[in-house]
Symmetry: C2
Amino acid sequence: MTRKTTTKQQLLEATLKLISEKGYLGATTREISRLAGVTELTLFRHFGTKERLFEELLNSYTFLPRLKEILPAVDQLPYEDALSLIAMNFLMTLTERKLMIKILLTEIHLYPEKIRNVYSAMVNESRATLGNYFTTLQKKGVMRSVPPESAVRAFMGMLFNYFRTEIMIKENGVSKKRMEQNVREFVDIFIHGTMKHH
Amino acid sequence: MTRKTTTKQQLLEATLKLISEKGYLGATTREISRLAGVTELTLFRHFGTKERLFEELLNSYTFLPRLKEILPAVDQLPYEDALSLIAMNFLMTLTERKLMIKILLTEIHLYPEKIRNVYSAMVNESRATLGNYFTTLQKKGVMRSVPPESAVRAFMGMLFNYFRTEIMIKENGVSKKRMEQNVREFVDIFIHGTMKHH
DNA sequence: CTGTAATGTAAGCACATACTTACAATAATG
DNA sequence: CATTATTGTAAGTATGTGCTTACATTACAG
Protein backbone atom coordinates (compact mmCIF):
# COMPACT_ATOMS: atom_id res chain seq x y z
CA MET A 1 0.00 0.00 0.00
CA THR A 2 2.80 2.43 0.79
CA ARG A 3 4.48 1.03 -2.31
CA LYS A 4 1.57 1.95 -4.50
CA THR A 5 1.53 5.63 -3.68
CA THR A 6 5.29 5.79 -3.90
CA THR A 7 5.30 4.42 -7.42
CA LYS A 8 2.55 6.74 -8.48
CA GLN A 9 4.36 9.66 -6.92
CA GLN A 10 7.61 8.82 -8.67
CA LEU A 11 5.80 8.59 -11.95
CA LEU A 12 4.16 11.95 -11.40
CA GLU A 13 7.48 13.54 -10.52
CA ALA A 14 9.17 12.10 -13.58
CA THR A 15 6.27 13.35 -15.67
CA LEU A 16 6.60 16.82 -14.20
CA LYS A 17 10.27 16.95 -14.97
CA LEU A 18 10.12 15.57 -18.49
CA ILE A 19 7.04 17.42 -19.70
CA SER A 20 8.43 20.67 -18.36
CA GLU A 21 11.59 20.03 -20.38
CA LYS A 22 10.21 18.58 -23.59
CA GLY A 23 6.53 19.38 -23.64
CA TYR A 24 3.63 16.95 -23.55
CA LEU A 25 4.28 15.50 -26.98
CA GLY A 26 8.04 15.42 -26.55
CA ALA A 27 7.96 13.48 -23.30
CA THR A 28 7.48 9.80 -24.06
CA THR A 29 5.96 7.26 -21.74
CA ARG A 30 9.11 5.15 -22.15
CA GLU A 31 11.34 7.88 -20.88
CA ILE A 32 8.99 8.86 -18.09
CA SER A 33 8.77 5.34 -16.75
CA ARG A 34 12.52 4.86 -17.09
CA LEU A 35 13.16 8.05 -15.12
CA ALA A 36 10.71 6.85 -12.49
CA GLY A 37 12.63 3.57 -12.25
CA VAL A 38 9.67 1.54 -13.35
CA THR A 39 8.43 -0.40 -16.35
CA GLU A 40 6.33 1.29 -18.99
CA LEU A 41 3.64 -1.24 -18.28
CA THR A 42 3.45 -0.09 -14.69
CA LEU A 43 2.80 3.43 -15.90
CA PHE A 44 -0.16 2.26 -17.95
CA ARG A 45 -1.46 0.08 -15.16
CA HIS A 46 -1.59 3.13 -12.93
CA PHE A 47 -2.84 5.75 -15.31
CA GLY A 48 -4.34 3.95 -18.27
CA THR A 49 -3.34 6.51 -20.85
CA LYS A 50 -0.73 9.20 -21.22
CA GLU A 51 -3.48 11.78 -21.29
CA ARG A 52 -4.84 10.65 -17.92
CA LEU A 53 -1.33 10.78 -16.50
CA PHE A 54 -1.03 14.36 -17.67
CA GLU A 55 -4.38 15.28 -16.19
CA GLU A 56 -3.53 13.73 -12.85
CA LEU A 57 -0.32 15.69 -12.85
CA LEU A 58 -2.26 18.89 -13.41
CA ASN A 59 -4.69 18.04 -10.65
CA SER A 60 -1.90 17.12 -8.25
CA TYR A 61 -0.84 20.73 -8.33
CA THR A 62 -2.03 22.33 -5.13
CA PHE A 63 -1.40 26.02 -5.23
CA LEU A 64 -0.67 26.90 -1.64
CA PRO A 65 -2.14 30.29 -0.85
CA ARG A 66 1.08 31.47 0.69
CA LEU A 67 0.12 35.05 0.07
CA LYS A 68 -2.86 34.59 2.32
CA GLU A 69 -0.67 33.17 5.06
CA ILE A 70 1.54 36.21 5.35
CA LEU A 71 -1.26 38.75 5.19
CA PRO A 72 -1.51 39.09 9.00
CA ALA A 73 2.19 39.91 9.23
CA VAL A 74 1.78 42.27 6.33
CA ASP A 75 -0.89 44.33 8.01
CA GLN A 76 1.55 45.44 10.69
CA LEU A 77 4.05 46.84 8.19
CA PRO A 78 4.22 50.18 6.40
CA TYR A 79 2.95 49.62 2.90
CA GLU A 80 6.34 49.98 1.22
CA ASP A 81 7.71 47.08 3.21
CA ALA A 82 4.45 45.21 2.96
CA LEU A 83 4.43 45.41 -0.81
CA SER A 84 8.06 44.34 -1.03
CA LEU A 85 7.35 41.41 1.23
CA ILE A 86 4.32 40.40 -0.79
CA ALA A 87 6.26 40.71 -4.02
CA MET A 88 9.20 38.66 -2.77
CA ASN A 89 6.83 36.05 -1.44
CA PHE A 90 5.04 35.91 -4.76
CA LEU A 91 8.27 35.51 -6.68
CA MET A 92 9.57 32.83 -4.34
CA THR A 93 6.35 30.86 -4.65
CA LEU A 94 6.51 31.08 -8.41
CA THR A 95 10.13 30.00 -8.37
CA GLU A 96 9.35 26.95 -6.25
CA ARG A 97 6.66 25.94 -8.74
CA LYS A 98 8.82 26.78 -11.70
CA LEU A 99 8.48 23.45 -13.49
CA MET A 100 4.72 23.31 -13.19
CA ILE A 101 4.34 26.90 -14.26
CA LYS A 102 6.51 26.25 -17.27
CA ILE A 103 4.12 23.48 -18.23
CA LEU A 104 1.10 25.67 -17.70
CA LEU A 105 2.50 28.48 -19.82
CA THR A 106 3.74 26.19 -22.55
CA GLU A 107 0.78 23.89 -22.93
CA ILE A 108 -2.07 26.31 -22.35
CA HIS A 109 -1.89 27.35 -25.98
CA LEU A 110 -1.93 23.74 -27.13
CA TYR A 111 -4.41 22.19 -24.70
CA PRO A 112 -6.47 25.11 -23.37
CA GLU A 113 -9.34 22.97 -22.07
CA LYS A 114 -7.06 20.90 -19.89
CA ILE A 115 -4.99 23.73 -18.49
CA ARG A 116 -7.33 26.64 -18.20
CA ASN A 117 -8.91 25.57 -14.93
CA VAL A 118 -5.75 25.08 -12.92
CA TYR A 119 -4.19 28.12 -14.56
CA SER A 120 -7.02 30.50 -13.83
CA ALA A 121 -7.34 29.08 -10.33
CA MET A 122 -3.77 30.12 -9.71
CA VAL A 123 -4.23 33.56 -11.25
CA ASN A 124 -7.55 34.28 -9.60
CA GLU A 125 -6.35 33.23 -6.18
CA SER A 126 -3.34 35.51 -6.36
CA ARG A 127 -5.37 38.36 -7.73
CA ALA A 128 -8.07 38.07 -5.12
CA THR A 129 -5.63 38.04 -2.23
CA LEU A 130 -3.72 41.05 -3.43
CA GLY A 131 -6.94 42.81 -4.37
CA ASN A 132 -8.22 42.43 -0.83
CA TYR A 133 -5.08 43.99 0.54
CA PHE A 134 -5.41 46.94 -1.82
CA THR A 135 -9.03 47.43 -0.88
CA THR A 136 -8.00 47.48 2.75
CA LEU A 137 -5.43 50.15 2.02
CA GLN A 138 -8.02 52.20 0.21
CA LYS A 139 -10.47 51.94 3.09
CA LYS A 140 -7.74 53.16 5.41
CA GLY A 141 -7.34 56.11 3.09
CA VAL A 142 -3.75 55.25 2.37
CA MET A 143 -4.20 54.30 -1.25
CA ARG A 144 -5.61 56.44 -4.03
CA SER A 145 -8.88 55.33 -5.54
CA VAL A 146 -7.51 53.56 -8.56
CA PRO A 147 -9.60 50.53 -9.52
CA PRO A 148 -8.15 47.73 -7.39
CA GLU A 149 -8.26 45.22 -10.24
CA SER A 150 -6.17 47.53 -12.38
CA ALA A 151 -3.67 48.04 -9.60
CA VAL A 152 -3.48 44.29 -9.12
CA ARG A 153 -2.99 43.70 -12.82
CA ALA A 154 -0.28 46.32 -12.98
CA PHE A 155 1.57 45.07 -9.93
CA MET A 156 1.37 41.38 -10.70
CA GLY A 157 2.04 42.04 -14.36
CA MET A 158 5.36 43.65 -13.55
CA LEU A 159 6.26 40.80 -11.25
CA PHE A 160 5.10 37.92 -13.37
CA ASN A 161 6.80 39.22 -16.46
CA TYR A 162 9.95 39.68 -14.45
CA PHE A 163 9.64 36.10 -13.31
CA ARG A 164 9.10 34.89 -16.87
CA THR A 165 12.02 36.74 -18.40
CA GLU A 166 14.60 36.62 -15.62
CA ILE A 167 13.91 33.41 -13.77
CA MET A 168 12.28 31.12 -16.28
CA ILE A 169 13.92 31.94 -19.59
CA LYS A 170 17.44 32.72 -18.50
CA GLU A 171 19.13 29.48 -17.52
CA ASN A 172 21.18 30.87 -14.65
CA GLY A 173 18.71 32.07 -12.06
CA VAL A 174 18.82 35.46 -10.43
CA SER A 175 20.40 35.85 -7.02
CA LYS A 176 18.11 36.71 -4.17
CA LYS A 177 20.00 39.93 -3.59
CA ARG A 178 19.42 41.03 -7.15
CA MET A 179 15.80 39.97 -6.96
CA GLU A 180 15.26 42.08 -3.88
CA GLN A 181 16.85 45.04 -5.58
CA ASN A 182 14.58 44.71 -8.61
CA VAL A 183 11.54 44.27 -6.41
CA ARG A 184 12.36 47.44 -4.50
CA GLU A 185 12.49 49.37 -7.74
CA PHE A 186 9.22 47.95 -8.93
CA VAL A 187 7.54 48.73 -5.64
CA ASP A 188 8.96 52.22 -5.72
CA ILE A 189 7.56 52.86 -9.18
CA PHE A 190 4.25 51.37 -8.19
CA ILE A 191 3.98 53.54 -5.11
CA HIS A 192 5.43 56.83 -6.26
CA GLY A 193 5.12 56.67 -10.01
CA THR A 194 7.80 58.02 -12.26
CA MET A 195 7.07 61.67 -13.00
CA LYS A 196 8.09 64.73 -11.06
CA HIS A 197 5.36 67.30 -11.46
CA HIS A 198 1.78 66.53 -12.25
CA MET B 1 9.71 32.33 -60.79
CA THR B 2 6.74 34.18 -59.29
CA ARG B 3 5.33 30.72 -58.63
CA LYS B 4 8.30 29.68 -56.59
CA THR B 5 8.11 32.43 -54.02
CA THR B 6 4.36 32.05 -53.79
CA THR B 7 4.59 28.39 -52.92
CA LYS B 8 7.25 29.00 -50.34
CA GLN B 9 5.23 31.82 -48.87
CA GLN B 10 2.10 29.69 -48.64
CA LEU B 11 4.07 26.97 -46.93
CA LEU B 12 5.50 29.42 -44.42
CA GLU B 13 2.06 30.82 -43.69
CA ALA B 14 0.59 27.38 -43.19
CA THR B 15 3.49 26.54 -40.91
CA LEU B 16 2.92 29.69 -38.89
CA LYS B 17 -0.74 28.88 -38.44
CA LEU B 18 -0.36 25.22 -37.57
CA ILE B 19 2.66 25.47 -35.30
CA SER B 20 1.02 28.32 -33.41
CA GLU B 21 -2.00 26.08 -32.88
CA LYS B 22 -0.40 22.71 -32.23
CA GLY B 23 3.22 23.36 -31.44
CA TYR B 24 6.24 22.25 -33.42
CA LEU B 25 5.81 18.56 -32.69
CA GLY B 26 2.05 18.62 -33.10
CA ALA B 27 2.11 20.21 -36.53
CA THR B 28 2.85 17.54 -39.12
CA THR B 29 4.41 18.13 -42.50
CA ARG B 30 1.43 16.38 -44.08
CA GLU B 31 -1.03 18.81 -42.61
CA ILE B 32 1.13 21.83 -43.29
CA SER B 33 1.48 20.98 -46.95
CA ARG B 34 -2.22 20.19 -47.24
CA LEU B 35 -3.12 23.56 -45.74
CA ALA B 36 -0.72 25.22 -48.17
CA GLY B 37 -2.46 23.46 -51.04
CA VAL B 38 0.65 21.60 -52.01
CA THR B 39 2.11 18.12 -51.90
CA GLU B 40 4.20 17.03 -48.97
CA LEU B 41 7.00 16.34 -51.40
CA THR B 42 7.00 19.97 -52.48
CA LEU B 43 7.51 20.99 -48.87
CA PHE B 44 10.61 18.84 -48.61
CA ARG B 45 11.89 19.98 -51.97
CA HIS B 46 11.77 23.56 -50.72
CA PHE B 47 12.99 23.15 -47.17
CA GLY B 48 14.70 19.79 -46.95
CA THR B 49 13.69 19.04 -43.40
CA LYS B 50 10.94 20.08 -41.03
CA GLU B 51 13.55 21.66 -38.81
CA ARG B 52 14.83 23.88 -41.62
CA LEU B 53 11.26 24.90 -42.39
CA PHE B 54 10.80 25.94 -38.79
CA GLU B 55 14.03 27.88 -38.78
CA GLU B 56 13.14 29.71 -41.98
CA LEU B 57 9.82 30.62 -40.43
CA LEU B 58 11.60 32.07 -37.43
CA ASN B 59 13.98 34.02 -39.62
CA SER B 60 11.15 35.32 -41.81
CA TYR B 61 9.90 37.20 -38.80
CA THR B 62 10.91 40.79 -39.27
CA PHE B 63 10.08 42.76 -36.20
CA LEU B 64 9.20 46.17 -37.53
CA PRO B 65 10.44 48.84 -35.15
CA ARG B 66 7.09 50.56 -35.14
CA LEU B 67 7.87 52.15 -31.82
CA LYS B 68 10.81 53.92 -33.39
CA GLU B 69 8.61 55.25 -36.17
CA ILE B 70 6.24 57.08 -33.89
CA LEU B 71 8.89 58.52 -31.63
CA PRO B 72 8.99 61.87 -33.50
CA ALA B 73 5.25 62.31 -33.07
CA VAL B 74 5.61 61.27 -29.46
CA ASP B 75 8.11 63.98 -28.65
CA GLN B 76 5.51 66.66 -29.32
CA LEU B 77 3.01 65.23 -26.83
CA PRO B 78 2.69 65.64 -23.07
CA TYR B 79 4.09 62.53 -21.52
CA GLU B 80 0.74 61.14 -20.37
CA ASP B 81 -0.51 61.07 -23.94
CA ALA B 82 2.86 60.00 -25.22
CA LEU B 83 2.99 56.99 -22.92
CA SER B 84 -0.56 55.99 -23.78
CA LEU B 85 0.26 56.24 -27.46
CA ILE B 86 3.40 54.19 -27.05
CA ALA B 87 1.55 51.59 -25.02
CA MET B 88 -1.30 51.28 -27.50
CA ASN B 89 1.17 51.03 -30.33
CA PHE B 90 3.08 48.34 -28.51
CA LEU B 91 -0.07 46.33 -27.84
CA MET B 92 -1.27 46.66 -31.43
CA THR B 93 2.05 45.49 -32.77
CA LEU B 94 2.00 42.51 -30.45
CA THR B 95 -1.55 41.71 -31.48
CA GLU B 96 -0.65 41.77 -35.16
CA ARG B 97 2.17 39.32 -34.49
CA LYS B 98 0.06 37.23 -32.17
CA LEU B 99 0.65 33.90 -33.88
CA MET B 100 4.40 34.30 -34.07
CA ILE B 101 4.63 35.47 -30.49
CA LYS B 102 2.60 32.49 -29.39
CA ILE B 103 5.17 30.28 -31.07
CA LEU B 104 8.04 32.14 -29.48
CA LEU B 105 6.56 31.90 -26.00
CA THR B 106 5.56 28.27 -26.37
CA GLU B 107 8.66 26.85 -27.97
CA ILE B 108 11.33 28.87 -26.23
CA HIS B 109 11.21 26.44 -23.33
CA LEU B 110 11.51 23.47 -25.65
CA TYR B 111 14.00 24.74 -28.24
CA PRO B 112 15.80 27.61 -26.54
CA GLU B 113 18.78 27.67 -28.93
CA LYS B 114 16.55 28.16 -31.94
CA ILE B 115 14.26 30.76 -30.47
CA ARG B 116 16.41 32.80 -28.16
CA ASN B 117 17.93 34.98 -30.85
CA VAL B 118 14.74 36.17 -32.47
CA TYR B 119 13.06 36.44 -29.09
CA SER B 120 15.72 38.55 -27.47
CA ALA B 121 16.00 40.65 -30.62
CA MET B 122 12.36 41.54 -30.19
CA VAL B 123 12.66 42.24 -26.48
CA ASN B 124 15.88 44.21 -26.73
CA GLU B 125 14.63 46.35 -29.56
CA SER B 126 11.51 47.33 -27.68
CA ARG B 127 13.41 47.93 -24.48
CA ALA B 128 16.04 50.07 -26.14
CA THR B 129 13.51 52.29 -27.87
CA LEU B 130 11.47 52.89 -24.76
CA GLY B 131 14.60 53.28 -22.68
CA ASN B 132 15.78 56.07 -24.97
CA TYR B 133 12.52 57.89 -24.54
CA PHE B 134 12.75 57.63 -20.79
CA THR B 135 16.31 58.88 -20.81
CA THR B 136 15.16 61.86 -22.84
CA LEU B 137 12.45 62.61 -20.31
CA GLN B 138 14.97 62.42 -17.52
CA LYS B 139 17.33 64.80 -19.29
CA LYS B 140 14.47 67.23 -19.68
CA GLY B 141 13.96 66.96 -15.94
CA VAL B 142 10.45 65.67 -16.38
CA MET B 143 11.06 62.18 -15.08
CA ARG B 144 12.44 61.17 -11.69
CA SER B 145 15.81 59.51 -11.66
CA VAL B 146 14.65 55.93 -11.44
CA PRO B 147 16.94 53.56 -13.31
CA PRO B 148 15.61 53.65 -16.88
CA GLU B 149 15.97 49.88 -17.31
CA SER B 150 13.81 49.30 -14.28
CA ALA B 151 11.20 51.73 -15.52
CA VAL B 152 11.23 50.00 -18.88
CA ARG B 153 10.88 46.59 -17.29
CA ALA B 154 8.03 47.76 -15.13
CA PHE B 155 6.15 49.48 -17.92
CA MET B 156 6.60 46.77 -20.52
CA GLY B 157 6.01 44.08 -17.93
CA MET B 158 2.57 45.45 -17.18
CA LEU B 159 1.77 45.69 -20.86
CA PHE B 160 3.18 42.40 -21.98
CA ASN B 161 1.51 40.48 -19.22
CA TYR B 162 -1.74 42.20 -20.06
CA PHE B 163 -1.25 41.13 -23.65
CA ARG B 164 -0.52 37.58 -22.61
CA THR B 165 -3.50 37.15 -20.32
CA GLU B 166 -6.14 39.22 -22.06
CA ILE B 167 -5.34 38.98 -25.72
CA MET B 168 -3.50 35.72 -26.14
CA ILE B 169 -5.07 33.36 -23.66
CA LYS B 170 -8.67 34.48 -23.73
CA GLU B 171 -10.18 33.34 -26.99
CA ASN B 172 -12.41 36.37 -27.55
CA GLY B 173 -10.09 39.32 -27.95
CA VAL B 174 -10.46 42.58 -26.10
CA SER B 175 -12.17 45.54 -27.74
CA LYS B 176 -10.02 48.51 -28.61
CA LYS B 177 -12.12 50.69 -26.31
CA ARG B 178 -11.48 48.42 -23.38
CA MET B 179 -7.82 48.16 -24.26
CA GLU B 180 -7.51 51.96 -24.26
CA GLN B 181 -9.21 52.12 -20.90
CA ASN B 182 -6.83 49.58 -19.38
CA VAL B 183 -3.86 51.31 -20.90
CA ARG B 184 -4.92 54.63 -19.40
CA GLU B 185 -5.08 53.04 -15.98
CA PHE B 186 -1.66 51.44 -16.38
CA VAL B 187 -0.15 54.71 -17.54
CA ASP B 188 -1.79 56.52 -14.67
CA ILE B 189 -0.31 54.13 -12.14
CA PHE B 190 3.05 54.29 -13.83
CA ILE B 191 3.08 58.09 -13.78
CA HIS B 192 1.46 58.90 -10.45
CA GLY B 193 1.92 55.73 -8.48
CA THR B 194 -0.76 54.48 -6.15
CA MET B 195 -0.23 55.96 -2.71
CA LYS B 196 -1.51 59.24 -1.33
CA HIS B 197 1.07 60.51 1.13
CA HIS B 198 4.71 59.68 1.08
C1' DC C 1 8.48 24.54 -80.29
C1' DT C 2 11.81 22.82 -77.14
C1' DG C 3 14.13 22.32 -72.98
C1' DT C 4 14.17 23.22 -68.16
C1' DA C 5 12.34 24.20 -63.69
C1' DA C 6 8.57 23.36 -60.58
C1' DT C 7 4.91 20.46 -59.05
C1' DG C 8 2.13 16.21 -58.80
C1' DT C 9 1.13 10.98 -58.12
C1' DA C 10 1.97 6.90 -55.86
C1' DA C 11 4.16 3.89 -53.21
C1' DG C 12 6.80 3.03 -49.52
C1' DC C 13 10.63 2.86 -45.91
C1' DA C 14 12.44 3.23 -41.29
C1' DC C 15 11.50 4.47 -37.08
C1' DA C 16 9.15 5.93 -32.89
C1' DT C 17 5.27 5.82 -29.93
C1' DA C 18 1.09 4.77 -27.21
C1' DC C 19 -0.76 0.81 -25.73
C1' DT C 20 -1.74 -4.51 -25.22
C1' DT C 21 -1.37 -9.42 -23.97
C1' DA C 22 0.24 -13.56 -21.58
C1' DC C 23 2.89 -15.15 -18.06
C1' DA C 24 6.32 -15.15 -14.31
C1' DA C 25 8.39 -13.11 -10.13
C1' DT C 26 8.11 -10.70 -6.03
C1' DA C 27 6.43 -8.47 -2.01
C1' DA C 28 2.98 -7.40 1.52
C1' DT C 29 -1.02 -9.22 4.33
C1' DG C 30 -3.70 -12.11 7.15
C1' DC D 1 2.31 -20.49 4.94
C1' DA D 2 -1.07 -19.10 1.72
C1' DT D 3 -3.36 -15.48 -0.59
C1' DT D 4 -3.45 -11.38 -3.01
C1' DA D 5 -1.83 -7.13 -4.87
C1' DT D 6 1.95 -5.10 -7.40
C1' DT D 7 5.61 -5.17 -10.55
C1' DG D 8 8.58 -7.25 -14.11
C1' DT D 9 9.79 -9.67 -18.75
C1' DA D 10 9.10 -10.14 -23.35
C1' DA D 11 6.96 -9.87 -27.37
C1' DG D 12 4.13 -7.48 -30.30
C1' DT D 13 0.35 -4.43 -32.64
C1' DA D 14 -1.42 -0.43 -34.86
C1' DT D 15 -0.67 3.90 -36.12
C1' DG D 16 1.58 8.13 -37.28
C1' DT D 17 5.50 10.70 -38.94
C1' DG D 18 9.55 12.50 -41.31
C1' DC D 19 11.47 11.65 -45.42
C1' DT D 20 12.68 9.16 -50.02
C1' DT D 21 12.42 7.30 -54.73
C1' DA D 22 10.84 6.77 -59.50
C1' DC D 23 8.16 8.57 -62.84
C1' DA D 24 4.67 11.63 -65.00
C1' DT D 25 2.73 16.29 -65.75
C1' DT D 26 2.51 21.06 -66.20
C1' DA D 27 4.23 25.71 -66.89
C1' DC D 28 7.33 28.94 -68.46
C1' DA D 29 11.77 30.89 -70.93
C1' DG D 30 14.49 31.22 -74.98
